[in-house]
């Protein structure tokens, strides 16, 4: 399989703090990829570098054969990288529908019906006209995913879309992500809810202190001594 996204030796520092120290990853077309690691291990920094919210200092980020490290975030979205935010950032003065119209107009140049189809798929259809500031936590998470979908991405980065949700709600969001992947969208999932990552991912990478400490199938990751040490501090 040809790699959709190649991260080569990417580094990022904040002052004296090393957030990423030479991270390399290949993500294949259509893959369900899990990214785990303790708090502060660099997961969000890595996807900020991939999505363009931050610029990597060293290394290369290649998407569909094109180096994108120097592009602003909106250009990367237009190339097909969409993300959801860990802390939901809805356009709070807009309705749910209008939230999705932003990427629809700026990226996909599609018709409004497309937005309704996405809302239906994600289970927000009855909230289309609601103001996004009036949504519940799980609805906000879904809105994050729906808005990312409206940009018609090839790669979807889900940054802790399930944090703080109940068991049933986690299953609901997982099902949405499975369905999107079945349509051919490559998904990077960042998550602390282990059973969700393990069920979802075909391959998992564990970061600790800005380095990849382990890579493999979900089953092998759980058994890995380094991963256990990173999480449990033993």
């Amino acid at each position: 399989m040809a790699a959709l996204l190649q991260v080569e030796n990417v580094s990022k520092h904040f002052g004296g703090f090393t957030a990423l120290a030479g991270v390399s990853l290949d993500i294949a077309q259509g893959e369900r990829f899990g990214l785990i690691g303790p708090n502060g291990s660099g997961k969000t920094t890595l996807i900020n570098c991939i999505s363009g919210a931050l610029r990597n200092e060293a290394g290369k980020i290649v998407f569909q054969g094109k180096e994108i490290g120097g592009l602003p975030a909106y250009r990367r979205t237009r190339l097909g990288i969409a993300r959801s935010f860990q802390i939901p950032r809805p356009f709070h003065s807009m309705s749910v529908l209008e939230n999705l119209l932003v990427p629809l107009q700026y990226v996909a140049h599609g018709k409004e019906e497309e937005v309704f189809a996405i809302l239906k798929k994600i289970g927000l259809a009855d909230k289309a006209q609601a103001l996004s500031s009036q949504l519940s936590q799980v609805e906000l998470r879904k809105l994050e995913l729906a808005r990312a979908m409206a940009a018609r991405p090839r790669l979807l980065i889900s940054d802790e879309a399930m944090a703080g949700l109940s068991g049933a709600e986690v299953d609901e969001v997982l099902k949405i992500l499975f369905d999107l992947n079945a349509e051919g969208i490559t998904i990077i999932m960042i998550e602390h809810i282990m059973h969700a990552v393990m069920r979802f991912s075909q391959r998992v990478v564990c970061l600790d202190a800005g380095r990849i400490i382990c890579e493999g199938t979900p089953a092998s990751i759980v058994q890995n001594a380094d991963v256990q040490r990173a999480y449990l501090g033993a």
Binding site: S51, G52, A53, P72, A73, Y74, T77, R78, A82, R83, F85, R89, P90, F91, H92, S93, M94, E98, L101, V102, P103, Q105, Y106, V107, R147, A148, A150, A151
Partner: protein, 311 residues
């Protein structure tokens, strides 16, 4: 369609009033200033209201427009229309330059930068002998054009036209894809960027358009006063009013700054005549505080709330 009819009716009424002998001359003298505020408040709202980037430097754009007009008038005796177009171009250029340099700054830092630009402009003009330096320049108005009976009446109609242009531009920006992008920027810049909105480009565009309209609004001012000097031309009061009016009227809709400017501008004119010129700033301040506390969405927001609850 409704909007075009309304705008046309307003212009016809303005021209009709200016040509009729029945209306007192003072009305035009006062209404000119109110209309100037309509243009300034509307222009301010394109960046400040839609995109949420607070500009305190309205005076810099307005004043530069005034001085551009004066230079053209003094050097080439250029007609008023040319002065206005040139002032808009200079205002746009300043907006573009300021935008490129400062719009990477977010929130309060951008606001501070705009205050600095105001002082830079004033200092430049104070030190420019050709336009009169700190003492200013007395200007002789050219003859009034037919069919108007006085220069003030003509300037009133010119400003009415500029107000319609400004409001139409603001309305277009609001309802188009640009407006949706600017609102996204105001709500969350990171999310806007992640949704494919070219945030810097849109902000610079808004700043350029806003600057052009402010510059144009400043162009007829020297002829209105027959005089120009830097201190009042680059007064911070322009910026405060241009900010207060949309806040009072409502920043989310193009009608907001229009309502705010008509209300606050008229009160200011009445207070100037009946009490004193000094009270003006106090009126702006008190009303602004009242609205920010009691009706943060302005008159427009209040009306919408009231309409919704009466349904």
């Amino acid at each position: 369609m409704k909007y075009s009819i309304g705008a046309a009716a307003f212009l016809v009424a303005a021209v009709g009033a200016a040509l009729s002998g029945a209306v007192n001359e003072y009305f035009f003298y006062a209404a000119y200033v109110v209309l100037t505020f309509v243009v300034l408040a509307t222009a301010w709202n394109i960046l400040g209201g839609y995109a949420g980037y607070v500009n305190f430097g309205t005076g810099a754009f307005f004043g530069l427009g005034s001085y551009s007009a004066v230079v053209l008038f003094k050097a080439l005796s250029a007609p008023l229309a040319v002065q206005i177009v040139a002032a808009a171009a200079v205002g746009a250029a300043l907006g573009f330059g300021v935008g490129i340099m400062t719009l990477r700054l977010r929130g309060i830092f951008f606001a501070i930068a705009t205050v600095a630009i105001l002082f830079i402009m004033e200092t430049l003009m104070v030190n420019w002998r050709y336009v009169g330096g700190a003492t200013g320049l007395q200007l002789l108005r050219p003859d009034v054009m037919a069919p108007f009976s006085s220069y003030t009446r003509m300037l009133f109609v010119v400003m009415a036209l500029l107000a319609v242009v400004a409001v139409s531009v603001a309305r277009y920006v609001q309802v188009s894809w640009i407006g949706r992008g600017l609102r996204a920027i105001r709500d969350s810049e990171e999310a806007a960027e992640a949704s494919g909105v070219p945030t810097l480009r849109l902000k610079v565009f808004a700043c350029t358009i806003s600057g052009a309209l402010m510059g144009a609004a400043g162009a007829p001012m020297p002829m209105y006063l027959s005089f120009i000097e830097p201190a009042s031309t680059f007064s911070l009061n322009w910026g405060v009013s241009a900010l207060a009016m949309p806040m009072i009227g409502g920043t989310a809709h193009w009608i907001g700054p229009v309502l705010g400017a008509l209300l606050l501008g008229s009160i200011q004119q009445i207070v100037t005549v009946t009490i004193s010129n000094e009270i003006n700033v106090l009126v702006v301040g008190v009303l602004l505080v009242l609205f920010v506390v009691l009706a943060p969405d302005g008159i427009y927001g209040l009306c919408r709330k009231w309409l919704r609850s009466s349904k």
